[in-house]
């Protein structure tokens, strides 16, 4: 690998963002990925790194309500943003209806993809209260379950949609 890859000096950048409703200010290297900020600096390790190649969606979080792959954004790009991770789903010790439904439907096996899947499901259900089977499939097309447990995941999203109606 050529030496030129590493710059001689890196100027760190100050950012301020909200994660799960809490405000954080940090000074970070500009090349730091959002998922690295979440896991390493903020100790929010619920967001997983699966492939690190923008394929698997394990690192999915919501940024200002939109699902994004946090391995494919720099932390500095989240300056001023509101981020929601799996840790922010639970409220006052109560699981979020999506979390409950994933448990009730056995919508997880090894659990590695689960945080990302739940946040993709949340973007869907916050915009579409009555998703069709096709809508649900399309919503999670960017989330790979290596255990291939998609049937129960789709059942869980369906159940969560029913339980969230009128909520």
């Amino acid at each position: 690998m050529p030496d030129s890859i590493m710059p001689e000096s890196i100027e760190n950048i100050s950012i301020a963002l909200k994660v799960n409703g809490k405000s954080y200010s940090r000074t970070v290297e500009p090349r730091k990925l959002l998922v690295e900020l979440l896991r390493e600096d903020l100790d929010l390790t619920g967001t997983h790194v699966g492939c690190d190649t923008t394929y698997c969606g394990a690192c999915t979080v919501l940024m200002n309500g939109a699902a994004v792959k946090s391995c494919t954004m720099f932390a500095v790009q989240a300056d001023g943003a509101e981020i929601l991770t799996v840790e922010g789903l639970e409220k006052n010790g109560e699981l979020h209806p999506i979390q409950k439904a994933f448990g009730d439907c056995y919508g997880l096996q090894c659990g590695y993809c689960t945080p990302g899947l739940m946040l993709s499901a949340l973007q869907l259900l916050s915009r579409n209260q009555q998703p069709t089977y096709h809508d649900m499939r399309k919503a999670i097309a960017g989330n790979t379950c290596r255990c291939t447990g998609y049937q129960n995941i789709l059942k869980a999203i369906q159940m969560a949609a029913q339980n969230m109606k009128g909520a």
Binding site: M1, S4, I5, P7, P30, D52, T53, T54, Y55, C56, G57, T60, A66, A67, V68, K69, T72, M73, F74, V76, Q77, S120, Q123, K138, A139, A141, G142, N143, T144
Partner: protein, 278 residues
């Protein structure tokens, strides 16, 4: 800023291709200039019979836009690129500026005779898309220029189009894709534009296939002629997505199906299509 930083600087738009390329060290810019904090770069407007897209308009915004929905082929493309997460970040301007041979937008926009507005330190210029894309990963942009806008004319009455891309799974680039845009007058094809994606160094406009349809009534015979011309124009490489012969066969089938859908849409029938999965 680009002029000051020199040739080692790169613009960061949605980052859904550039960041993965940087991780692989295929791209190794000394400086990144993030366009995302520049306001007024994301918009969809309709005036004087044309749609204009700000360079940083996200695929998801185009997918949800009723204005863009007036040209169904734009919705086909925007709604099918990669997955939800990538569509929330990826941009139309970034896709064209990257000029990946497998990118979706160039193939679709070629059939709409899109124009790309380029902004640089010495001023602005408008470049037809066919001149903008020079080669794989190579555009007409100077290093101190950026894409500011993409414009397409609304097609005349009696028009319909379809974009079909065949993929192995959502997040990957298609194996092959075909864009067809037709204008009909009764049974007769007044105008046709056909472009192929992922089967050459750039999207390929198939003028022979267009000529096979133009002025003709669209029968099985003329459609077959256009499909054969498309197969002949494809210049695919064998790779992990499939052999060259497989892709050539696939792209022919996609063109045929896209023509059939374009005809139905031109006749006013709403047809839902999406990217096709293996």
């Amino acid at each position: 800023m680009l002029a000051q930083l020199g040739e080692d600087a790169k613009l960061l738009a949605g980052g859904q291709s550039l960041i993965p390329l940087m991780k692989l060290r295929f791209a190794n810019p000394a400086h990144l200039v993030d366009m995302n904090f520049i306001s007024g770069t994301s918009y969809i407007t309709e005036e004087d019979g044309a749609l204009r897209f700000g360079a940083l308009t996200r695929h998801a915004e185009i997918e949800a836009s009723s204005a863009a929905g007036k040209i169904p082929i734009l919705h086909d493309c925007a709604a099918g690129i990669a997955d939800v997460q990538v569509r929330n970040r990826g941009t139309i301007g970034g896709s064209l500026a990257e000029a990946d041979p497998s990118g979706d937008w160039a193939t679709v926009l070629m059939t709409l005779s899109a124009e790309v507005r380029c902004l640089g330190t010495t001023g602005e210029r408008t470049v037809p898309l066919t001149d903008f894309i020079k080669d794989a990963y190579t555009t007409a942009l100077a290093h101190d220029e950026l894409v500011s806008e993409v414009a397409v004319k609304l097609p005349p009455k009696g028009s319909g189009g379809a974009y079909l891309a065949f993929k192995r799974s959502a997040p990957v680039y298609p194996t092959a894709s075909a864009a067809v845009q037709l204008t009909l007058d009764g049974d007769v094809c007044r105008n046709a534009a056909i472009a192929l994606g992922c089967v050459g160094l750039t999207a390929i406009r198939v003028t022979d296939a267009e000529a096979a349809l133009r002025g003709q009534s669209l029968t099985e015979k003329t459609i077959t002629r256009a499909t054969e011309a498309s197969r002949a124009a494809a210049d695919p490489q064998s790779d992990t997505r499939g052999s060259a012969e497989y892709k050539r066969t696939l792209v022919g089938a996609l063109v045929k199906r896209a023509i059939e859908i374009a005809i139905r849409r031109a006749q006013g029938e709403p047809v839902e299509v999406g990217h096709i999965y293996a």
